[in-house]
């Protein structure tokens, strides 16, 4: 007898509110339908009623995890319309904060994945390491969550003690290499719980247009850092990580290896940090009439901004397409034919951010 289970919008299996209506036959999932909109705040509309400085503060609140990449992409779009060049030092500083953010986002996700696997020890280890990364972010920006480091034309503030940050990052790398990555890539528990679970084939990944680690774990090699290098990624020699299997294990492996790449990029950026100004001399931003798009690689994948200006201090249109907006629908394809008990882990493997998706 087929039956349907509503999961959410508020449910212990979900980190944020969205709703999965799961159709089952016995313990096997036959179909999933997804509803969103429970965190809708009309941020795009509000951004069209605020000047560019207020808009920066606003778009940073789209997400509590990847807040920095939102301000960076908003600035990149405004800089493209205004024709502003960002100083070299600012480009490197943007990479440092963006990769620290990716590191703490991926650590958050691996912790949640460990908990969903029933692997409590790794959950504790992962979150302990994440705290250290959060400490570095606080040291760099003064904040743990909303860093407020980006401005149109560069960055606010500077890094004066690169050696302290470098030492903390090297310590993070050692812990990742010694404990976390081997456990997630080699342990029997992680393997048994994730191999062959929640497969998204390459064909399905392309059809759904998924981005970020979800796409790269299905063999779709898309990464804005490589495809359209921004900030200082070209100078730092970014290396893309991908896998072909498309299951939860592949998503775990891709994120694990990406953490090591993030650490390498931060180390490189700190060592090569050029001297000079951190922002263009422009005072209050004047954005000429025009329109532009900007793309950046957020922790969950490609973040897309479209910005239109009529020359006033307030943008006429701000469009924000977050990576989770493209990734969440693919949960439908991942769940069909799977065991109901695996559903919490499968949906978590996309790292769904409902705050981002709803905006």
């Amino acid at each position: 007898m087929p039956y349907k289970i509503p999961v959410g919008p508020f449910h212990p299996a979900l980190e944020e509110p969205y709703k999965l209506s799961v159709s089952c036959q016995g313990e096997t999932i036959h179909g999933v339908s997804i509803e969103i909109g429970f965190s809708f705040r009309a941020i795009e509309l509000l951004a069209q009623q605020r000047n560019y400085i207020q808009g920066l503060t606003l778009v940073e609140r789209v997400c509590g995890i990847c807040s920095g990449v939102h301000t960076m992409t908003f600035c990149m779009a405004a800089e493209a319309v205004a024709g502003v060049d960002v100083p070299d030092r600012a480009r490197f500083l943007r990479v440092i904060v963006a990769e620290l953010e990716r590191l703490h986002s991926h650590l958050l996700w691996t912790g949640i994945a460990a908990e969903d696997m029933g692997f409590q020890t790794m959950f504790m280890e992962t979150f302990a390491l994440r705290e250290r990364v959060m400490d570095v972010l606080e040291f760099v920006s003064g904040s743990r969550v909303h860093y407020a480091t980006n401005c149109i034309g560069g960055v606010i503030g500077d890094i004066r003690d690169a050696d302290t940050i470098l030492a903390a990052i090297q310590d993070t790398r050692r812990t990742l290499e010694r404990d976390l990555v081997p456990v997630f890539t080699e342990s029997r528990t992680a393997r048994a719980r994730t191999s062959g679970v929640g497969v998204l084939t390459k064909e399905r990944a392309l059809a759904y247009g998924v981005v970020g680690p979800t796409a790269r774990a299905s063999g779709v090699e898309v990464d804005v850092r490589r495809d359209l290098p921004y900030a200082a990624y070209e100078e730092l020699g970014f290396r893309i990580v991908s896998a072909a299997e498309g299951d939860v294990r592949a998503r775990l492996l891709v994120r694990a290896m990406e953490m090591l790449e993030s650490v390498r990029l931060i180390e490189q950026a700190l060592r090569k940090l050029p001297q000079g100004p951190t922002r263009a001399e422009m005072g209050f931003p004047v954005v000429a009439p025009g329109e532009a798009t900007a793309r950046a690689e957020a922790p969950r994948g490609e973040l897309f901004y479209y910005l239109a200006s009529n020359g006033n201090d307030t943008p006429t249109r701000v469009k924000i397409r977050t990576p989770s907006f493209m990734n969440i629908p693919s949960i439908e394809a991942m769940c069909v034919g799977q065991q109901l008990a695996d559903m919490p882990l499968i949906q978590a493997s996309v790292d769904p951010c409902c705050s981002c998706t709803d905006r």
Binding site: A42, L45, A207, G209, D227, F238, I240, T293, R321, M326
Partner: protein, 162 residues
């Protein structure tokens, strides 16, 4: 598991030459952030078929409120480093849905339908995406339509109630 380095190996076709072949195409402009084409009468289904053929990925669709209740629709495609932005316009507040040809357009079309009151003709599931069905569509077109800033009730002049 594989690791690759270096720039994208994907060779972009000559999009600038292909875009004018779409029925209803307009002038193509090369800007810093990619190709832009404005074509109010564009055959969006033919556009979708062409983008599929050249392997372009639909990144998103943007809606912009314009006069007379119509909406400008911008399709943003990515092909490696290229961004292809194709702008068209709704006709009588409607436009053919490209979701039957490209599933990645599903939520983007539903969002524009919800927030701008656009009917995407032929969409397989034209239900509201972000706001409850009890509220009128077109919130971004007229945010004060349901309860204006003075607190009085009014209906949207542009968008009929659902």
């Amino acid at each position: 598991m594989s690791e690759a380095s270096g720039p994208s190996q994907q060779i972009a076709p000559d999009c600038e030459a292909l875009l004018p072949q779409i029925p209803g195409a307009g002038p193509v402009e090369h800007r810093d952030d990619g190709l832009w084409m404005t074509a109010p009468g564009l055959d969006v289904l033919a556009m979708t078929a062409l983008m599929h053929r050249i392997g372009a990925r639909l990144s998103t669709i943007t809606g912009l409120a314009i006069q007379n209740g119509e909406t400008a629709i911008i399709y943003h495609y990515c092909l490696g480093a290229f961004t292809i932005n194709i702008r068209t316009t709704t006709r009588d507040r409607a436009i053919p849905s490209i979701t039957p040809l490209n599933k990645a357009a599903d939520w983007s079309e539903r969002e524009i339908s919800d927030l701008y009151g656009v009917a995407f003709l032929g969409h397989p599931n034209p239900s509201r995406l972000l706001r409850p069905p009890s509220l009128s569509p077109g919130f971004f077109r007229n945010p004060c339509g349901e309860v204006d800033r003075c607190g009085s009730q009014s209906s949207s002049p542009d968008v009929p109630a659902s």
